[in-house]
Assembly symmetry: C3
Amino acid sequence: MNRPERAFPRQEIRLERRLPTYWRVTFDLPPVNIFGPRETLRLGEIITAIEQDEQVKVVVFDSAVDGFFITHYDFLAPLEESANIPPGPTGLQALPDMLVRLSKAPVVSIASIRGRATGVGSELALASDMRFASREKAILSQWEVGAGLVPGGGPMARLPRLMGRGRALEVLLSADDINGDLAERYGYVNRSIPDAELDGFVDALAMRIASFDKQAIADTKQLVDVASLPRDSEIKPEWDAFIAALGRPASQKRIKALMDRGFHRAGDVENRLGFYVGQLGS
Amino acid sequence: MNRPERAFPRQEIRLERRLPTYWRVTFDLPPVNIFGPRETLRLGEIITAIEQDEQVKVVVFDSAVDGFFITHYDFLAPLEESANIPPGPTGLQALPDMLVRLSKAPVVSIASIRGRATGVGSELALASDMRFASREKAILSQWEVGAGLVPGGGPMARLPRLMGRGRALEVLLSADDINGDLAERYGYVNRSIPDAELDGFVDALAMRIASFDKQAIADTKQLVDVASLPRDSEIKPEWDAFIAALGRPASQKRIKALMDRGFHRAGDVENRLGFYVGQLGS
Amino acid sequence: MNRPERAFPRQEIRLERRLPTYWRVTFDLPPVNIFGPRETLRLGEIITAIEQDEQVKVVVFDSAVDGFFITHYDFLAPLEESANIPPGPTGLQALPDMLVRLSKAPVVSIASIRGRATGVGSELALASDMRFASREKAILSQWEVGAGLVPGGGPMARLPRLMGRGRALEVLLSADDINGDLAERYGYVNRSIPDAELDGFVDALAMRIASFDKQAIADTKQLVDVASLPRDSEIKPEWDAFIAALGRPASQKRIKALMDRGFHRAGDVENRLGFYVGQLGS
């Protein structure tokens, strides 16, 4: 558990109860907001708190790390740490379990995306009820296919429902970086907002919804979910496919090549992951 | 049935058979095109005529009242008037019944939206086959959650199929006014058209479709509907949720607060309902 | 099989294996890329090759004919030629069979659309995994309803899943030409690209995907398809409806009127088919 190689002053996911009805969850895992087994456990606690609290109506997810919303899963963490996390209440593995529960919670979840939302970051945004992006500073991507992997946290189920099959296949199979403007045109996010206005916009929307009746919110959301939310049985095979792909030589070779170039460290590979997965060769 | 307090020179929903193949339905219920039990009965007659006529191919819905397409349900009408309307042929309550039947009719329905399409107005537009909006003068909204209500006429089933779950949840849970530009970007309407061109555009499209073969139109529409139209069983619980919410103190308090400020009368509350529901407090 | 009346120097659908992993299929059927029974057989061979090859990862469809990607079905070919083609492996008729198989193949298909993609051309593009259009030179349409027909190759199932029911009904029931800009706004194509950049964009995307791992591509695509691809049982009735409509006087009269004006020949009717079907009268 001791990781001196990235001993940053703080390494946390913060839960701030700005109001009893309006919470903020802030990812502060410098330098690049990598999400691994420890973060899985921490986010799981927060999702449970969201589900159980009787007052909260809105929760906003954002980042305190410049350039990164949340990036990909932690491929340096010992595999046992991930494997040892038990499945969640839905019966799904921990990460897809908490994403599914976030979507179903009787609380409005809003992803406020500034910087890279790659892999897990994109998957958390897609599991949230709404997504707003910085027009200049947001990058969304599912980079996994570029590394010989299959995404594991729901995007094959969720992206086609937001943007249609063709654009979803482009996002997933190009494995490339999508900027704020294109993310809005594709429906990857609700809207892209000029960076200087993003925080004010999201805060005003959250405050507005927090002023409404919790039961009216929850009942309306539940009726939307009837036809628009994937069933758990659609989410499950994605994680299985991710684990299977992780064990294949194609992904091991590509992940190693990325590591050799600077993956998992501050620098150009993390900043332009879409470019680098396109340079690995077949 | 006598309502001297809004005794306007005319209070009607007009059906004009412009051609045997092309009909227009015009809402003329000044000052703000509120839709209540009387309008439910009248629109029901028109929907039945559309279903039974052998020649009509296209019907356009528009408004003769400046600033309003159709706004919300009539909360001043005696509740018995609404309760006394029997369910329709689908077994659904009268309003969702006629919206469902409009979607299934072997006739093309087009909503031409100028002014506010709020609540029932948005729901009628969503049940129509196509929606075109004045870029400058259309406002769409589902304001209900802002008043502690749950919308009752189908938008939880229909909006996510048009714009994806995230944007649908934003429309429904922000309960805010959506202008013509954003309505087009979100797919709430097919297109927003410069106001000066809207009538000509819709008329030309209607005339064009009216020149085509009725069976080719009906067969094509029926095949589109197989996968894209919600089943009646998805629509039904929305009305039930609306009625349940209407009986709760949260909505009663909010509707009363809106009435105190000028709801149901010409003026700023009706003109900017999205703003006002955001001012009621929790 | 001898058709001296359109004896062009070449009449073919070319398969070029640019790399073992990256194929191009080019429609070269001047003057207007009409697609008939002979092309059905040829494209069927190509789809089978795509399914069976172990190396190919990406196939791009494009055209060598100025102004036309692929236009409509060949109404001059003897009906026996079409009727004699046996159903395909899916049990569907030959054309819908091969479109369905293309969508399901473990290979990424990309339609690069320059010129008219009308009828069969639109249907092939919709069955492809991704669609990119020349902003200036692409026209997409389902013209069939304008000729008293019902489209037969899947668009009633596929269009609403890409753009929602309202825009799909507009495309199908207006039967009008859709330019590159509107096609992008509606999600008919992934993106419209300035014509000068289209070929470079598509080639770079294809080369990029061809550098990725075939199994990661195939597994990811298969998971996207679970919820986003129509079942074969939705596609089948479209072909049946097309054949039924083709036997009705309404379509025969309209097709004859189009033939009298120049249909199936180079010229204004083929160039502006959307306009001409609007001139036939009811």
